[in-house]
């Protein structure tokens, strides 16, 4: 069945990436930051499986470390965006009235900054570094979560089991936590998976532009950026990191699809 293939291929890819990231914490074939001007621009060989870059650093090792860096940024960002968005979304969706109105106008304003624009703006304030980019992206993706959670809460409110909860005597707060929140879990999981992909892409883009994680610390985005001037003479500098981003995103998308399909029939 198509669905299973989705999950398998996606799962394998994502697991590999995670594996790479975790591995890089304890071991990489060479030191990711180790300069060796003697070995500059070596094309892929048995010694350096993916070749070396303009400073003689082993690209494979940098790819592994880059995986780790991107994953950490993505995980932390998604965690905060989901947390903040859910809390605010529940409040907006359940309270309705003025509170909701105010929050929605503010949220819409934040959503008016398309794509990574808001993150770019915030990065001006936080500066271009690992923590800055987490804050910037976290703020940029909270509005989307808020909107989703609010929407889910509002549609759940119409379900009869929510009314039933009030009829049997539960307070509003109890109803919210016992019945609404757990039923938000499914759409949230789907969102979190998609968001994970968006953040990885956004972080690579920003690092590529020079506004994300700065060199020499490797991240796939800034590797692509520093490899760009040498694209003709040493194409392997640019191909490997880009390929990794593409494959990771593919894996996440496939996994996300499989997740959505799996959750769908169970929902109702």
């Amino acid at each position: 069945m198509k669905i299973r293939i989705n999950a398998i291929v996606g799962g394998v890819i994502v697991a590999t990436v995670f594996g790479m990231g975790l591995l890089s914490i304890v071991w990489t074939p060479y030191d990711s930051l180790g300069l060796s001007l003697r070995d500059r621009f070596q094309s892929p060989s048995m010694v350096h499986l993916l070749g070396t870059d303009e400073f003689g650093r082993d690209i494979l090792s940098r790819i592994l470390s880059g995986a780790g860096a991107s994953l950490v940024v993505a995980l932390v960002t998604v965690f905060f965006a989901i947390l903040a968005g859910t809390l605010l979304g529940i409040i907006a969706g359940y309270c309705r009235g003025l509170v909701d109105r105010v929050m929605m106008v503010a949220n819409d304003a934040l959503l008016a900054f398309p794509g990574i624009l808001l993150a770019l703006g915030v990065s001006v304030v936080t500066g271009a570094n690992k923590y800055g980019i987490i804050v910037a992206l976290g703020i940029a993706y909270t509005p989307a979560t808020l909107r989703l959670v609010r929407g889910t809460v509002m549609s759940l409110r119409e379900r009869e089991y929510i009314e039933a909860s009030r009829v049997i005597g539960n307070s509003e707060i109890t109803t919210m936590f016992r019945h609404i929140l757990p039923n938000c879990a499914a759409p949230l999981m789907v969102l979190a998976t998609s968001m994970f992909g968006w953040v990885i892409l956004a972080e690579s883009a920003m690092s590529f532009l020079g506004l994300g994680v700065p060199p020499p610390a490797p991240t796939w985005g800034n590797m692509l950026s520093s490899g760009r001037p040498f694209i003709e003479s040493a194409p392997w500098l640019g191909i490997a990191p880009g390929m990794c981003i593409a494959l990771t995103l593919l894996g996440i998308n496939l996994l996300g699809d499989a997740l959505r399909d799996w959750l769908d029939p169970r929902m109702e």
């Binding site: 379900r159 009869e160 089991y161 009314e163 039933a164 909860s165 009030r166 009829v167 049997i168 005597g169 539960n170 019945h179 757990p182 039923n183 169970r266 929902m267 109702e268």
Partner: protein, 572 residues
């Protein structure tokens, strides 16, 4: 009748040289209009949907295919037109329509038949018309597909047909979009659209199920009238035995894909041969004359001049012009009494029920519980009120939290009885589950249960604290007929056993005759008539009550649940 252009066209654009489509304009006088032999339909995974269905339909005859969900009746209708969904296929059998063997037909062959020889009317009026096209455009499309006539003539015919289906302002209707019309009107528009082509066969797939009780009868009368007029045979696919009794010439009963029995309705329904048919008929509500009268006692709960606004009363420009969902309702319910509240959609019956137990804000008037106005009570009194009045909801698919196990759902109300120990609570839950017949299912999740089982869970949840009053909001409307009977019997038994009072909401007057002590009829937010079951059924006073009785095919004084006499209502 007009000579269809199909004969010529068929020979010109033949896709399969071996296929000769010959459709004569004269009905095939020898032999049936529709002949189905051993029709077998399976899903691609092998699940059996129809098993060797065999029946005939004479020209102009009304044949009813009756069954519950899963009987395969819908697929039978679709198979005739070659409209089976992609995951389902016809594996055996022959269908012959007007002398033409359908199983050998190619896609283009079907395109020529559809609409012209056989038309179909679907169940859901709210989605059966394209919302992005005007009514006129849609009707025209169907018409021009099969007949080459000038636009003016087409328009005249469309307007005329719309008038025949009782659409007022039929000229204007053509330029409007579907969303401007109610469900009943849309069904009639669909009928008009299909009958424009004067097909030989009309397949009606549950045409009135999604409609209001009053609209149901209107649409059926119009449909049968048109069909008789044009000599169109009707294949009526339905689960409603009243319709069968009232309109069909022949009825075929289906169960899980098998043809159980068939024959004229009077024969099949009055002296059924099979047990299944017997159960179906038994599931029809009968008046329960054995009900013991409720002891006279002061009212348990009263609605005094109760008014409820729409939208919780937020956006009214002026009080005097505000339309009320419930308008100064006066009702009292004694302990242990079952009061059925009946009316069409929009009558306010559900709103009244919810407002009565405090789930909706009240605009005017008051609710008095055990002699004390609820609004004036202190926190404890209000809490007691809330816990003593429970509710069973209509939709079994949304009234249970999909994340909770059955056991937890039923146990949840006990969380407010602080004095009970854990062991006692568990015991009560087990006892309750046993009482509703769900002993083995405590660990399941709702999605693993059938509709009937879910309603039992909902009932268990409502009754576990032995409330004084239960508001039952159309608790069985969404269920299959035989299941309705089961759940309703259960509800009656528990009501007698536990002795709770009940505010029973229903849109079908006949359905409540089994359970009610008193009946209140609501229309446009007001209670227009109230009385005992015999008062309402035998001596209805208000015109709306009479309309409801008529819509349920119940004549005043009628004893048996089925009525076989067909009257064409001259009104409208």
């Amino acid at each position: 009748m007009d000579v269809p252009m199909i004969t010529k066209r068929a020979r010109l654009n033949e896709s399969d040289p071996n296929e000769r489509v010959e459709l004569s304009s004269q009905p095939v006088t020898q032999g049936p209009l529709l002949s189905v032999r051993d029709l077998t339909v399976k899903s691609r995974r092998g699940a059996r949907i129809l098993n060797g269905l065999t029946f005939d339909m004479a020209p102009g005859e009304i044949v009813a295919l009756v069954g519950e969900s899963g009987s395969g009746k819908t697929m039978a209708g679709r198979a005739i037109l070659g409209l089976l969904p992609s995951q389902v296929e016809q594996t055996a059998g022959h269908i012959s329509l007007n002398g033409l063997e359908l199983s050998k037909l190619s896609q283009s062959g079907f395109h020529r038949i559809r609409g012209k020889v056989a038309g179909m009317v679907f169940q859901e009026p709210m989605v059966s018309l394209n919302p992005a096209m005007t009514v006129g455009a849609q009707m025209l499309e169907g018409l021009l597909l099969h007949e080459k006539i000038p636009a003016k003539e087409a328009r005249t015919r469309m307007v005329e047909m719309l008038r025949r289906v009782q659409i007022r302002d039929s000229e204007d209707c053509l330029s409007k979009y579907p969303h401007a019309f109610s469900g009943g009107m849309r069904q009639r528009i669909m009928l008009a659209s299909v009958m424009l082509l004067k097909p030989k066969l009309l397949i009606a797939d549950e045409p009135t199920t999604a409609l209001d009780a009053l609209s149901q009868r209107e649409v059926m009368e119009v449909m049968v009238d048109l069909a008789r007029n044009y000599g169109t045979g009707v294949l009526l696919i339905t689960h409603d035995l009243q319709l069968v009794a009232h309109y069909a010439d022949t009825v075929a009963v289906l169960k899980r894909g098998d043809l159980i029995e068939s024959g004229p309705p009077k024969q099949v329904l009055c002296s059924p041969l099979s047990e299944y048919t017997h159960n179906l008929i038994d599931a029809l509500p009968k008046r329960d004359r054995s009900r013991a009268p409720v002891p006279d006692a002061p009212a348990l709960i009263e609605a005094r001049g109760l008014s409820v606004a729409y939208n919780g009363g937020h956006r009214a420009f002026s009080r005097s012009t505000e339309k009320l969902a419930v308008d100064r309702a006066q009702l009292s319910i004694r302990p242990g009494e079952v009061v059925a509240v009946v009316g069409g959609s929009g009558s306010g019956k559900t709103t009244l029920g919810r407002a009565l137990i405090g789930m909706l804000p009240i605009r005017d008037g008051q609710v008095v519980f055990r002699g004390n106005p609820v609004a004036a009570g202190n926190r404890d009194a209000q809490r007691e009120f809330r816990l003593s009045c429970q509710m069973v909801f209509q939709d079994p698919y949304s009234s249970l939290d999909p994340r909770q196990r059955v056991r937890d759902i039923v146990a949840e109300p006990l969380g407010h009885s602080k004095q009970l120990s854990r062991g006692e609570r568990q015991r009560l839950v087990e006892e309750m589950l046993g009482d509703v017949g769900l002993e083995a299912l405590g660990d399941r999740y709702p999605h693993a249960l059938s509709g009937g089982q879910r309603q039992r869970v909902a009932i268990a949840r409502a009754l576990i604290r032995r409330p004084a009053l239960v508001v039952a909001d159309e608790p069985v409307s969404a269920l299959d007929m035989t299941i309705q009977k089961q759940v309703l019997s259960l509800f009656r038994r528990l009501q007698t056993q536990y002795g709770f009072a009940c505010f029973f909401v229903s849109h079908n007057l006949a359905a409540v005759s089994e359970i009610a002590d008193r009946i209140a009829v609501m229309h446009n937010g007001s209670i227009v008539e109230e009385g005992s079951v015999s008062d309402i059924f035998d001596r209805p006073q208000h015109y709306y009550t009479r309309q409801l009785l008529e819509a349920a095919y119940v004549a005043p004084g009628q004893v048996s649940p089925l009525s076989f006499a067909r009257q064409l209502s001259g009104s409208n």
